[in-house]
Symmetry: C2
Subunit: 588 residues, 2 copies
């Protein structure tokens, strides 16, 4: 039986630590003041724990079912109820503009909401997630008519959105796209033909209509990604007739069974161009930051619910005696396993990285909001830089660490963790895909080292360095946090050295970049989490908050027993990379 | 569609590198000379690839089915055929004495056979695995009559074996055992009553009879593990009637669906004592080394088959261009992904650790065989020491690394890796349990630091130090391996420092041992794999073997890009452990 308690206290604490107030002061987000935000998060927590969680197991066990006769897809028991609760309470248009029926929440709030929804029902929550992405794309590039036609219906959840990107055999490479768009004979839009795979919620029975954003090539489009255009293709046309797009099968996956992953066939499907011809990548990029942030949040969310399950188990299960006689409980043969150092190590590894990553998500969220709506251009630019730098890290490090955290929680529960009734095994299966989709974690690493670091001559890294220096300074001003400040300063220095080393190596041999990128990102992730925990510790001490002792304890654990993992990455990056690139192909 | 090619060439190479010849020279194993061993391994490889693999998917999809009416368990399609092939070819009694119908193979051969069987069908191969454990226990502690009654039938696979250890709510702690044995009214043996859980192949439809080894308490037995006795309880009695032991349910698990994990109820079941009353732990310990070695081999086996799947994918799948213009293929838009450094990194991480761990399994296997049958007591003792030291490492590091290797292979395959038809996802689910059963990996770590290191004043560590020194010396005598020798010497020195540091810390605070044990074992595992790879590289260079270039390439990768991970563990062990032990319980 799955349980979930939304971590509301930590969320509110972290909003304060990461100066969410600066966001609430923006005119655009004035409606989401601290009090409103708190109420909204409480409501979300209740919805997650009471409604969404209820169908999470059913989604896994029943899966989504495809009818080969009609192409229809039936979702699991309880999904419709969950969908309706999400729709009626404004979660489909959560961060969408209220001008078109959106809830108008800051992305900061969006990250916390996403965490709760994903923790309680990852599969179902992917539906509003994708719809949110489509809304964002239309807000940025849709015509006024398109906005009026689609946005209110999408924001209300009456209709849902889907992203038709991947062509068979093309993997993440959009350049190999084969779907073709030709001007419609009657002059109204285009007709699209081709096949798309890996389409999440491409077909289902939850909503009246499904609006697809489809990548396709116009006639005579240039080859590669410079010849991609974006089209809107609704399942049902305005007159109520069926459009030429249909689900021709579902993938069978290790996890997220409740989320239908569709093969979609387009045959003379009517579609309308969104944005400029051949500029489809711009439309895609607009959704990318939020989408990748939210995938990173998936790692946080399942870490947290798995932690809760493991902690409950550790308090209940009895096994052996404490090595410390003073900690042995009287009147029993065996202590609760929470007393054993290795059990505590696992819990603290998971807890500290989860809270650090939650901080990172909030940090990015606030800067997305500031970049979008702050009156000062300099602030917007700096926030934008921080977001651009941190997106690959939260996505890749968040999902890698999230997966190992869930695996750690399973290990703590032993055989119980491996059984289906023990809940954690579903989280492990559901989460594994997050390191793969929305750009594999290595693609994130290449984005980091190949695009984000060189940008503006290292301007993004410089913006983060400034943030780190501020946190170090605050830490050194307080006795309780001084050591952490010194340690973060040293860790950041080592990261800078690795950054320069990788850059120099890549100048000699471009393949060095690919060989080191994933290791480098993990290194960066560890240092980033040290930073976000230190911001929290600083705040807890400065404000003497209720969780002061806990936050200092978690930070202490992270700095002593997790951050030192960076020495592995530093050493690997310092070593020769040619064993990888010069290994003979015949010897694999 | 799953494929498997048994890694016979590497196995034969490694047998030579680890001086398997010393085993074949022992009188006991004279029948398994090099030529016979080669033929036997070839036969096993064919059986694995042709017969066992065929029912591996069916086992996963159909699972084992329990009939609540009769308590019968039906295994998946093709399991009976696989079982018969194993039985007829001598795999049930593989390492059993030929005096009682066993095949009489050395344990060294057993590890390689186990690797192939597990790679092709982990669930089904657990059945001969458990039977082998039971045979070992009876060989050591059974009466002559028991040996005659049971051994030939078990060795032929006509009957199979099961281990009934765990009581509900007791976890790995055998002290909490509740099953009771009372002398039978008619004086023939005992009657046993109680419930056992997690009983692998406790009930099934493959064999005529199932022989259970059951842990239970005699009347007036002392409390705890000193009051445990071992009984043999057959499903069918000699007169053909049903004994009082029945399967009352199956666990639903994340993986190994084909292997029935049974709840067994004993109600006045007739059983016969094996070994001395209250000395059941001795019987259990006799099986432990081989059982834990073989679980470690599970990690190797699924690493290897997952590597094969990922490699095939990497050669076929095209995506992007090489960063090195010289490596770009002509006449295509995209290169095979094998060209990309990160893909190669993942493949080499998996390949190098898999070959290193295979070496470790062979190393342990040969020393088990030498310890069992060498005429010189000093050799026996030294071999025994090496085995005792290395068993927790191969079990824990082998399964941890095996799991991360399979996950790495999945990552390489992207979305294809996550789909059910992509085969790797089954390996991931099947392997996860190996870090939990047969003593969790932390229990292995405690065994290493709490028992094995202090034994004989550090004698076991000394035996390994001698082996390392030999390998370093050989490496330094050859130009091509010299650097590796220096690196292993440095790594071993760092390990020794960490060993002493942990010991000193634990002398101050016993809880430090538990806090550091798992990290320490991983450190030890990394250094051990450097050792086993260096032995291979030394041999490849000295003998100028056909795989010389490949082995040197793999070793180069491991020393440059994997072994440096140890710096993480060294740093964590050097840090304060009290953040773990002094964290306030209320703050979790």
């Amino acid at each position: 039986m799955q349980h979930y308690t939304a971590p509301l206290a930590d969320m509110m604490f972290q909003l304060a630590a990461f100066d969410y107030e600066a966001v609430t002061k923006l005119e655009k987000y004035a409606a989401f003041d601290l009090e409103t935000t708190k109420m909204f998060l409480e409501q979300t927590g209740a919805l997650a724990s009471d409604v969404l969680l209820k169908s999470n197991r059913a989604g896994d066990v029943e899966g989504a079912k495809w009818d080969p006769e009609t192409g229809a897809v039936k979702t699991a028991t309880g999904y419709l109820e969950g969908h309706r609760a999400l729709a009626e309470n404004g979660y489909y248009g959560l961060t969408a503009d209220d001008a078109h029926g959106g809830t108008g929440a800051p992305v900061t709030v969006g990250t916390l909401v996403k965490e709760m929804l994903m923790a309680s029902n990852k599969s179902l929550s992917m539906c509003p997630g994708l719809t949110g992405g489509l809304i964002e794309a239309l807000e940025a590039y849709g015509t006024d008519a398109q906005k009026e036609t689609y946005l209110p219906q999408l924001a209300s959840g009456e209709w849902t959105g889907a992203m038709c990107l991947t062509a068979p055999h093309s993997g993440p490479g959009l350049g190999l796209l084969t779907t073709k768009a030709a001007p419609a004979a009657d002059g109204d839009g285009f007709t699209l033909t081709g096949t798309k795979i890996w389409i999440t919620f491409g077909e289902h029975d939850l909503a009246d209509n499904i609006v697809h954003l489809v990548l396709a090539r116009l006639p005579d489009a240039p080859p590669g990604i410079k010849g991609i255009s974006t089209f809107i293709v609704p399942k049902k046309l305005a007159d109520g007739t069926k459009n030429g797009i249909a689900c021709t099968g579902l993938e069978h996956k290790m996890g997220i069974h409740g989320s239908p992953t569709c093969v979609m066939d387009l045959e003379d499907a009517r579609g309308w161009l969104v944005g400029e011809p051949n500029r489809g990548m711009a439309t895609m990029f607009v959704m990318m930051n939020a989408a990748r942030l939210f995938v990173g949040v998936e790692g946080i969310s399942l870490s947290d619910i798995a932690y809760q399950a493991a902690l409950a188990f550790a308090k209940e299960r009895r096994q052996s005696r404490s090595m410390n006689p003073e900690k042995r409980e009287g009147g029993t043969d065996a202590d609760a396993i929470l007393v054993h150092p290795d059990v505590r190590r696992m819990l603290l590894d998971v807890k500290s990285t989860t809270e650090a990553l939650r901080g990172l998500a909030i940090f990015i969220g606030t800067h997305i909001d500031l970049a979008a709506a702050h009156p000062d251009e300099e602030v917007r630019q700096e926030s934008d830089d921080l977001v651009a730098l941190m997106i690959p890290i939260v996505k890749a490090f968040g999902t890698d660490r999230g997966f190992s955290n869930v695996s750690q929680a399973m290990q703590l529960c032993g055989g119980m963790g491996f059984t289906v009734d023990g809940e954690i095994e579903q989280y492990l299966r559901d989460l594994r895909i997050a390191a793969i989709y929305e750009g594999t974690n290595h693609i994130q690493a290449l984005d980091l080292v190949g695009r984000k670091l060189p940008m503006g001559g290292g301007r993004l890294y410089g913006a983060f360095a400034k943030k780190v220096a501020e946190a170090v300074k605050s830490a050194r001003a307080q006795e309780a946090t001084r050591d952490f400040g010194d340690q973060l300063a040293a860790a950041f220095e080592a990261l800078t050295e690795a950054t320069e080393g990788l850059r120099d190596r890549a100048a000699q041999d471009p393949e060095a970049l690919g060989a080191g990128a994933s290791t480098y990102l993990t290194f960066f992730g560890l240092v980033t989490c040290a930073y976000t925990l230190l911001v929290q510790a600083n705040h807890a001490v400065a404000e003497n908050t209720a969780n002061r002792r806990a936050k200092l304890g978690v930070t202490r654990h992270y700095f002593a027993r997790v951050l030192p993992e960076m020495h592995a990455h530093a050493a690997i990056l310092a070593a020769d990379h040619t064993p990888i690139t010069q290994f003979d192909d015949a010897d694999f």
